[in-house]
């Protein structure tokens, strides 16, 4: 399942090529279904989520910019977002972004957008620099779509401690990736 081949199929899907869509589905659906099953932990729901995922892929294929993202990562992000949205709708969790925190403000540093480039360090190496339980929390949050509350229960720490763990871990990872 070469990236190049998936990119080419996405290009054809953007041109409404049904054969390419079927071919893309054949090649990528086991991975994307695996994502939905792992996050939703329910086959029926995962099947519905997978439908949503491919409907989105059909309509959004033209937004895939080869070279800017790896095609499999792009597809996996659509699947993860769909599964996590479905999970959060089924089982709401507390809001974590502080109300007083103004999300509408533009970011301060306009140079930052120029910094998107493939980072030299792999996330795995940076995760190893974190304490083992924190790295595990980051990994499980990502893979299973766990909420802060669920993570706090699994790791037997107070909710606020878990929030601090993950937020500090994210900053450490960011710093490590940029090093």
């Amino acid at each position: 399942m070469a990236d190049k081949e998936i990119s080419a199929l996405l290009g054809r899907v953007a041109l409404a090529d049904r054969d390419a869509f079927a071919s893309l589905y054949r090649q990528t659906s086991p991975k994307l279904f695996g994502i939905c099953v792992r996050i939703l932990k329910d086959r029926g729901e995962a099947e519905e989520a997978l439908q949503e995922v491919y409907v989105k892929i059909w309509y959004r294929a033209d937004r895939f910019l080869a070279g800017e993202a790896a095609p499999m990562s792009w597809l996996a992000a659509i699947a993860r977002n769909q599964a996590i949205d479905r999970l959060r709708a089924r089982k709401p969790v507390a809001n974590a972004i502080d109300e007083a925190y103004d999300l509408a403000d533009p970011a301060l540093d306009p140079e930052r957008s120029a910094m998107i480039r493939s980072e030299g360090r792999r996330i795995e190496a940076c995760l190893e620099e974190l304490e083992a339980d924190r790295a595990e929390a980051v990994r499980r949050a990502y893979v299973e779509g766990l909420s802060y509350q669920e993570l706090a229960e699994i790791f037997a720490v107070p909710l606020n401690t878990m929030r601090t763990w993950l937020r500090r871990s994210l900053l450490k990872l960011r710093e490590c990736m940029e090093r």
Binding site: S7, A8, G11, R12, A14, L15, A16, D17, R18, D19, A20, Y25, S29, P30, K31, G34, I35, E47, Q51, Y54, V55, D62, R63, F64, L65, A66, E68, M72, A76, A77, I84, V93, N95, A96, I97, D98, Y101, D102, D105, P106, A107, D109, R112, S113, I116, I123, R139, Y142, G145, L146, Y148, L151, N160, R163, L166, L170, L171, L173, R174, M177
Partner: protein
Amino acid sequence: MTTQKPESGDSRSDEVIAGEYVLGVLSAEDRRQVEARMATDRNFAAMVVRWQSNLASIDLAYEPVAPPPHVFAAIESRVFESPASTGRSASLWNSLSFWRSLAFASLAAVAVLGISMLELFSAGQGGKPLVAELQGQGNGLGLALVAQFDTGSGRLRVTPVAARQTEEKSLELWLIKGSDPAISLGVLPQSGEGEILVRPAVRSKITEGSTLAVSLEPLGGSPTGSATGPVIALGTTRR
């Protein structure tokens, strides 16, 4: 964040929120808030994209699971049985006046407009040319084209209304007929405007209701014979 009370716009907090979004720990409401901000704040959206690409290698943890066959049938019926969404309802006359208002921006464009309108009217005797407006698909590449196909001479003229394509890329024009693979009509001149002489074998295939699309390709056009780059404009022909 509740614990640190950072000043708004603090890029460290932004990084954390972008990372929390990609990890998936946020609530539904927070996720919508993040997505709304991504749509209006390019720098913030870039942070999210970067986290996505940074964390993507963890995707290896997902074991593939074959979905049951009925899922694809359901997807196909949802995607292919809905009415085509590419048709545009604006009339040709509207599109020309829209085009003309933009063309005033440049003398050269006005000249092109003059030629195109002349052709349009003279073609009236031998049958109206097919015209398609091709609009960008909301991908920020900002391109709109007016395509005219003269059935008699086989000349397809494509004029950009606004183009911001990168120089080392080529724009390739495609014909889409139903579910058939897209047929390349040729690569547009690097100047971004001009005519393509459509191969005689393909001419009869450009009919009313055909879809024309432009994709961004490596210099010289797609190396594979099918589109490899993003589709930056798409439109349907009509009389």
